[in-house]
Each structure stands twice: as structure tokens, then as C-alpha cells.
């Protein structure tokens, strides 16, 4: 990995975000939403609407509006929410931090389950244990997330009363209460993700176990534990990095249902609220922030991959 590659990779992030910004802006332009109408309501006089349009620069050419929006966005100013009148950027970033916390905890829990499970299935390849873990994880991924969420809710919150059912408590307020509130959504999302990651770990581990260098390691008289942990796992887990990076995308945008069920004001939920309220600045900010986060996570995954497998030469 060279410095040149790193710079090019970061430029690629900028490029990606720029392309997304054009798309986001274009989509919000064709939405059947008039910012002036949204602000003043259906009964506003044409004169008042025209005045607002003029003030917001809605009569300017589209490219000029885009340029104005982009230059402000680069400085962190995405404008004011049409719904609340507050700046949208801080609102969306706070929501993003909640989503990221949920994503991080979910990934940690998922890895803690999926990696040992995949390894275990690989070592018992073709036997009952392998087939059973395969079946269970496929059930986990096939059942819709709202079903999983509801079942877990009924079981852990309603029936056993171990965990609070819904709501969000910031970790800064009360760490334990915060974790207790996050537990159910984290478990729900993990169950969904365990399936493909554990299957991936399984097939990669089987491949690696059949390789010549694992045979060589065993024939060097290394104990099985060292062969597995030192020689096998590292090589088998490399592709998992890429999968986990893709999962972050899913966790940011795809778990709106989970956020909704457990009443977590994450970025997905904020975006839905913004769309229903035709809150254009909020939609733009939310979409762009999500794209940017995703691009950054992908880059981090590439860097981690290159650091762990030195055969990968980016230049």
C-alpha cells in the first residue's frame, strides 16, 4: 500500500460523494414538493409564495442552486429544516451517531456469534452440527426483520421482562440503561446478519483447511489450536472484512423497520420523517451523510485488508 494509492483512494471517496450529491440534488428537484408551499402552507397567496421563492433562490438556474447548496454543504451547512426550523446538519449527525452505535454493537455481537459458529461448522463439515447451524442461520436471514423483532420483543420484553421494549437513552446519560434499550434492536439485527457471515467464515475456513500450508503447519507438529487460531483463522477472516463493510451500508439504510419498531431515532427513521414531511434540506443532508459514511467505511475496509494481507498490493 503506497501513499499514492491512499491519496487516490481518498480522492475516490470525494468523487463518489460528489456523484451522490448530484443525484440527491436532482431527485429532490423532481420531487413533487415546492419548498415555498411547504413553508407557507396550501392557502398562501401567490405574492407571498413568489416572495419566498425569490428569497430561497428557487428562481435561479438549477446549476446555480446546486452550486450554492454544495458550497454550503461542504462548510457543514445543509440549511434549515422546513419542519422544525432548526439546522438539519446537527440533527442528522446526532441521528447518525445513534445509528452508528447500533451498527457497531450489532457488528460486534454478530462477529462474536458468526465467527465461532462458522469455524465450528467448518470443522464439522457435512455432519449434523454443520447442517443444523446452516439451517438455523438461513431461518435467521429468511424471516423478515419485523417478525424477528416482534418475536424477540414478546419473548424478552413482554414475557420475561428482562429488557425494556422500546425507546432510546443516550449512553452519556446512563450507560447501562442505554445498553439495555439497545439490546433488543442489536440482537434483532445480529440474528439477520449472522447467517451470511457465518456461512462465509465456514466456506473460507474449509478452503483454507484444505490448503497446502495448513497441511504443512500440521506436519510441522504444531498443536491443532495453533493451526486453527494462528494459521487458519487469519486467512479465513480476510474476506469477512469486505462483507462487514457491505453490512454497514445495510445497517445505515436498511434497518428503518427495526429503528421504527424499537423507536430509535436513528438516521433511517429521521430520513423517513423528512420524506413524509417533504423536508427537502433534511432529505438532502440525510442521504448525503449516509453515502459519505458508507464510502468512508468501504475505504477503511480496503485499508484494513491491505494491512492484513500483504500480498494485496495497491499501487
Amino acid at each position: 500500500m503506497s501513499a499514492g494509492w491512499l491519496i487516490r483512494r481518498l480522492l475516490l471517496v470525494v468523487y463518489t460523494v460528489l456523484v451522490v450529491s448530484v443525484l440527491v440534488f436532482a431527485i429532490t428537484q423532481v420531487l413533487p414538493a415546492d419548498a415555498a408551499v411547504t413553508l407557507l402552507g396550501e392557502n398562501a397567496t401567490p405574492e407571498a409564495l413568489a416572495a419566498v421563492r425569490d428569497r430561497l433562490g428557487l428562481n435561479d438556474p438549477v446549476w446555480l442552486q446546486y452550486w450554492r447548496w454544495l458550497t454550503h454543504a461542504v462548510a457543514g451547512d445543509f440549511g434549515l429544516s422546513m419542519r422544525t426550523g432548526q439546522p438539519v446538519a446537527p440533527m442528522m449527525l446526532v441521528a447518525l451517531s445513534r445509528s452508528l452505535l447500533l451498527a457497531l454493537l450489532s457488528i460486534l455481537l454478530m462477529l462474536a456469534i458468526a465467527v465461532p459458529l462458522g469455524l465450528w461448522a467448518a470443522l464439522r463439515q457435512g455432519r449434523a452440527a454443520d447442517l443444523l447451524t446452516g439451517l438455523v442461520s438461513y431461518i435467521g436471514v429468511s424471516v423478515p426483520e419485523f417478525v424477528t423483532a416482534t418475536v424477540l420483543l414478546m419473548l424478552l420484553a413482554d414475557w420475561l421482562q428482562w429488557l425494556p421494549a422500546t425507546g432510546y437513552v443516550p449512553p452519556s446519560e446512563d450507560l447501562w440503561d442505554s445498553l439495555a434499550h439497545l439490546a433488543l434492536p442489536v440482537i434483532t439485527v445480529s440474528v439477520i446478519m449472522v447467517a451470511h457471515v457465518s456461512r462465509m467464515v465456514r466456506s473460507e475456513t474449509i478452503d483454507v483447511l484444505h490448503s497446502d500450508y495448513i497441511r504443512a503447519a500440521r506436519l510441522k507438529g504444531l498443536p491443532e489450536r495453533a493451526v486453527l487460531l494462528h494459521h487458519t483463522l487469519r486467512n479465513a477472516l480476510l474476506p469477512v472484512i469486505t462483507i462487514v463493510a457491505l453490512d454497514v451500508g445495510y445497517l445505515l439504510g436498511g434497518i428503518i423497520v427495526v429503528e421504527e419498531i424499537f423507536a430509535i431515532p436513528g438516521i433511517g427513521r429521521q430520513l423517513i420523517v423528512a420524506i413524509t414531511a417533504r423536508d427537502l434540506p433534511a432529505i438532502q443532508a440525510g442521504a448525503l451523510i449516509m453515502a459519505m459514511t458508507y464510502a468512508i467505511v468501504s475505504t477503511l475496509a480496503d485499508i484494513a485488508y491491505a494491512l492484513l494481507d500483504r500480498r494485496i498490493r495497491y499501487d
Binding site: 500450508y213 504443512a216 506436519l219 510441522k220 504444531l222 495453533a226 487469519r234 486467512n235 492484513l308 500480498r311
Partner: protein, 524 residues
């Protein structure tokens, strides 16, 4: 003499769907202290299975059907898992065929030597680091400290094999198993590894079982040789006995199949007209980038001409640009310079028309990857026939030409043996009635006896059709038997081109002389 290893009447079966197959049948081998025993056999003879049995690393479907394996006084078959781990790497070391797959790609080389020392000699990490460095110095690696910090892909094949050998010797085992340790290396690197083995043997007095399909090579390293055929030892003795006066028919056949430069198989002279010529041909891979020097060409300004009916050998070690030359001549790679054929000058692959492609055919090294696994042999052969104006009714005759039964047309490639598949690839090339066939290491993955049959077939086809061959190989002894002229390539350049009879003349290029010196001299 107390035996280090004794294999006594050892038999091994594999359970298969069709029943059990015997892979080793009453095998007896004794290796005394400091002795090197060669085990020679072709693929499928069971030689690797014996190595796995000694290392107690048998596949799940293996069933031991009697006999004993003893290391000194220790009964290897009676060991439990812990006992096996205490023997592997500690009392029996192993050197593998391909060092580039035997080393873990994501661990530093030093780590892979140290772990054995930590495990078997109970050293701490700093102690192991020093001991590993000493072990790497022992195998004559330059700057072992720096090498230890490198990853396998950052070392050459020869360096990697030295690391593997150092690992095997580092615990001072009583016995080392060598499983074709030079097969994956090029000729000169392989010869250096053998020299190293001879010196290490002298220092350490280690006993070894040296497994190989290469008779010439085993005769140089072993004190005694056992010849394995379909799981049975058919002959044993000193190399001189076995190779000069083979008692068993099979051994006789093997010895006869070993290429010997002095035994010419081609006596005629080629024609005078040129069928194919490379004119300052260069092949370059990789994109040209801004602000970056272009990658060095794989083949640089090679000029040579193949005459009518001529066999022109191209030799050189791996990476010397032999195959890139073939890719350029067939238009599979874009090239600089020009190709000349039938009086025309072609300066890019796009200029190669159907007539050219019909006249210039190629056979690749691995029939497994050059024959479409989902097509029947008949389909594979009908393509070139249709393209070049033949009829599919010629398929039986085509198969007969390469000495395959006509009903093979209905088979799939995976139902054929390696040698048979290569015959199909040859038949495909001849379906177009070419004037020249480029043979790119076509016998490299075949057993010696099969190689001899394929060569015989090529020569028969040439007598019949007058075809010229551009025969690319790393086996100098083989090419000296059949080529009219030999071209020697080194680092992309043509360094020598001379009559085969004059290849060992005193005015030959130093690299040509080094190649000859590194080619194992066949016994007898």
C-alpha cells in the same frame, strides 16, 4: 545397522464409492542412520500416500491393512494424537513439493521457522529468533535477518524452498521426508537446492526418504532406490544397479523413457523455407501509466525463424519469456516488432487472419485448463474442423492419428488421463492441418513414460505431415534429443541460438552452459 525408519509389509487401502482400492501393498523400506533412500514412482504409484502414512496424516477414507511403521524403536501406528504431534516436525521433518503453497501467505517467513523452534525445542521468542536466523544461515540464505521479516510473496521460489528446508532441519530430526522438493523450481534453482541438500547431509548426517518421479535426479542423491509401481515395490538396490541393470520390466521401461541428450530421435534435416519468424518481437504486460516507468517486457526483441519441418527448441528457466514468445506468435498477447509467415509481415494480432491462425497452432501445458470441461471430445475437435474447412467425419481418423480409440469422441475431458487429454489437445491442433505447432511445455505435467509416448506421437505426426514445431521446454535433455536447433532465453532475451549438436560447444553462452550443468545427468 540400526534402522531410523522401517516400513514392514505395510499395506494401505482407500475406501471409495466403488469399493476399496489398494494403494500400498506389502511395502518394505528400511532407512539406516545417515542413509538417503530414493522412492521412485509415477503419479498414482502410492509414493505420496506412503509419506502421509509415515507422517500419520492419512485422509479419512484411508484404511491401514496391515504391516508396521517404526521410527527407531517407536511404533508410529500406535501413536495417539499427542504422540503424533511430538513426532511431526520434531523427529521427522518434511520438505514439500511447492514452497509457494507450503508457506502461509499471511505470516512472515521468520515466524514460520520460529514457531517450530518454540514448539519443539521449548525456546522463548528471542531465543527462537536467534536460532531461526542461525538455521537460515545454515541453508546459505543471504541476509537471513531481513528475510525473516518478509512475507512469502516477497521471496523467490528458491529462497522459499530454503526456508522450508531450514524449518525441517531446525529441530535436528532423525529423518526428513523430501516430497519432490525441486519439481516446482526451475532447473538451475533446483540444482542449487540439491547441492545444498548434499552439504546439509554431510554436516548433519540426517537420514532421508527422497520421493520423486525423476529417475535421473534420484540417482544423484540417493544411496539406495526403491521403485514403486501401483503400490508395490518392484525393484530396489543401489542407483547403479537399478538404472544400469534394471531387473523388472517396469523399471526397464522407466529407464528407457528418461531423456538422454546423446540418444537422438530425429535424424532428418529441415527444409530451407521459413514457416514462421519473429522479427524483434517484444511482449509487454501491464498498462502503461503516466509518471511511472513501464513494466519490463516479458519478451524483448526476440528474432528467430522456424524452417519448414524444423523442430526448434526454446529453453530457459521460468520467467525467461518462453511462454510470452508463444503468446506473441499466436496473437494471444499484443506485441511489438513483427511476426512473419507465408511471406507476409504482421505487426499486430489483428492482422492475423484465418489462414494464419490455421497454419499456426498451439498446444498448452495444462490440458485440464485448455480443454473445455463441459464439451465432449468430439465437440472439442469439431470446432477447428468446421472453422478450417474440414468435416466432422474426420474425427475418428483424427483420434486414431493420436492413438485414441474413436469412441473417445463421446467422452468428457475429465474421463481421460493426463496423457490422453494432452493427445486430444494435440489432435485439436492438427485438425487445422497446421504448418507449425507451438508446443508450450506440453509434457511438463506428465510422467516420464507418458512424456516419452507423447514425444513419440509428435515425431510420428511430423513424419506424416511435415509439421514444424516450436517446442518450448525447461528440459534441456529432452530437447537435445529432438530439436534441430535450440534457442536459449534468459530474462526475456534470446541469448543463444545454435544447432542442437553444438549446444555444449565451448563458444556457447555462459547461461547455456549453466543450464547444461544444472540438468541432471541420466545414469547408465
Amino acid at each position: 545397522m540400526s534402522a531410523v525408519l522401517s516400513v514392514e509389509a505395510y499395506s494401505l487401502d482407500y475406501r471409495l464409492r466403488q469399493g476399496t482400492a489398494r494403494v500400498l501393498d506389502g511395502v518394505n523400506i528400511t532407512i539406516g542412520r545417515g542413509e538417503v533412500v530414493g522412492l521412485v514412482g509415477e503419479s498414482g504409484s502410492g509414493k505420496s500416500s506412503l509419506a502421509w502414512a509415515i507422517m500419520r496424516h492419512l485422509p479419512r477414507n484411508a484404511v491401514e491393512a496391515g504391516g508396521a511403521l517404526r521410527l527407531g524403536g517407536l511404533d508410529l501406528r500406535g501413536l495417539d494424537a499427542a504422540g503424533v504431534q511430538a513426532v511431526r516436525g520434531r523427529r521427522i521433518g518434511m520438505v514439500f513439493q511447492d514452497p509457494s503453497t507450503a508457506l502461509n501467505p499471511t505470516l512472515r517467513l521468520g515466524e514460520q521457522v520460529m514457531e517450530v523452534l518454540i514448539r519443539h525445542r521449548g525456546l522463548t521468542r528471542p531465543e527462537a529468533r536467534d536460532a531461526a536466523e542461525a538455521a537460515l544461515t545454515e541453508v546459505e540464505l543471504r541476509d537471513p535477518a531481513a528475510l525473516m521479516r518478509r512475507y512469502p510473496h516477497e521471496a523467490s521460489g528458491g529462497e522459499k524452498q530454503r526456508v522450508v528446508i531450514a524449518t525441517a532441519f531446525a529441530t535436528q530430526p532423525e529423518l526428513i521426508l523430501f516430497d519432490e522438493p525441486t519439481t516446482a523450481l526451475d532447473v538451475i534453482t533446483g540444482a542449487r537446492i540439491l547441492e545444498l541438500f548434499a552439504r546439509l547431509r554431510e554436516h548433519t548426517g540426517v537420514a532421508a526418504l527422497y520421493i520423486s518421479h525423476d529417475l535421473g535426479l534420484v540417482s544423484r542423491v540417493a544411496d539406495r532406490v526403491s521403485v514403486l509401481r501401483r503400490g508395490r515395490i518392484v525393484e530396489e538396490g543401489t542407483p547403479a544397479q537399478v538404472f544400469r541393470a534394471p531387473a523388472h520390466d517396469y523399471t526397464r521401461g522407466l529407464v528407457a523413457a528418461v531423456p538422454r541428450p546423446e540418444r537422438r530421435l530425429v535424424a532428418d534435416a529441415p527444409g530451407s523455407a521459413t514457416v514462421l519468424a519473429a522479427d524483434a518481437l517484444s511482449v509487454r504486460y501491464g498498462r502503461r501509466r503516466l509518471f511511472r516507468p513501464p513494466p519490463p517486457p516479458a519478451t524483448e526483441a526476440v528474432t528467430l525463424a522456424v524452417r519448414e519441418g524444423e523442430i526448434l527448441g526454446v529453453v530457459g528457466e521460468s520467467g525467461s519469456g518462453k511462454s510470452s514468445l508463444a503468446r506473441g506468435l499466436t496473437g494471444l498477447a499484443s506485441f511489438g516488432g513483427a511476426v512473419q509467415a507465408a511471406g507476409r509481415r504482421l505487426d499486430r494480432p489483428g492482422a492475423m487472419d484465418r489462414a494464419y491462425r490455421r497454419a499456426v497452432q498451439i498446444v498448452f501445458q495444462h490440458p485440464d485448463s485448455s480443454l473445455n470441461p463441459r464439451m465432449r471430445i468430439g465437440e472439442i475437435l469439431s470446432r477447428p474442423l468446421r472453422l478450417h474447412g474440414g468435416a466432422t467425419t474426420e474425427i475418428p481418423a483424427l483420434l486414431e492419428q493420436v492413438r485414441l480409440p474413436p469412441d473417445y469422441a463421446r467422452k468428457y475431458p475429465h474421463q481421460l488421463s493426463g496423457g490422453e487429454k494432452q493427445r486430444v489437445a494435440i489432435a485439436r491442433a492438427f485438425a487445422a492441418r497446421p504448418s507449425i505447432v507451438i508446443c508450450d511445455e506440453i509434457t511438463a505435467s506428465l510422467d516420464v513414460s507418458v512424456q516419452a509416448q507423447v514425444i513419440e506421437l509428435l515425431l510420428a505426426l511430423r513424419r506424416q505431415h511435415g509439421t514444424a514445431y516450436l517446442f518450448i521446454t525447461h528440459d534441456l535433455n529432452l530437447i537435445r534429443q529432438i530439436a534441430h536447433r535450440i534457442a536459449v532465453m534468459q530474462r526475456g532475451r534470446l541469448v543463444d541460438l545454435r544447432e542442437a549438436a553444438a549446444i555444449d560447444a565451448p563458444d556457447a553462452h555462459p547461461y547455456t552452459r549453466a543450464l547444461i550443468a544444472a540438468s541432471p545427468t541420466p545414469v547408465g
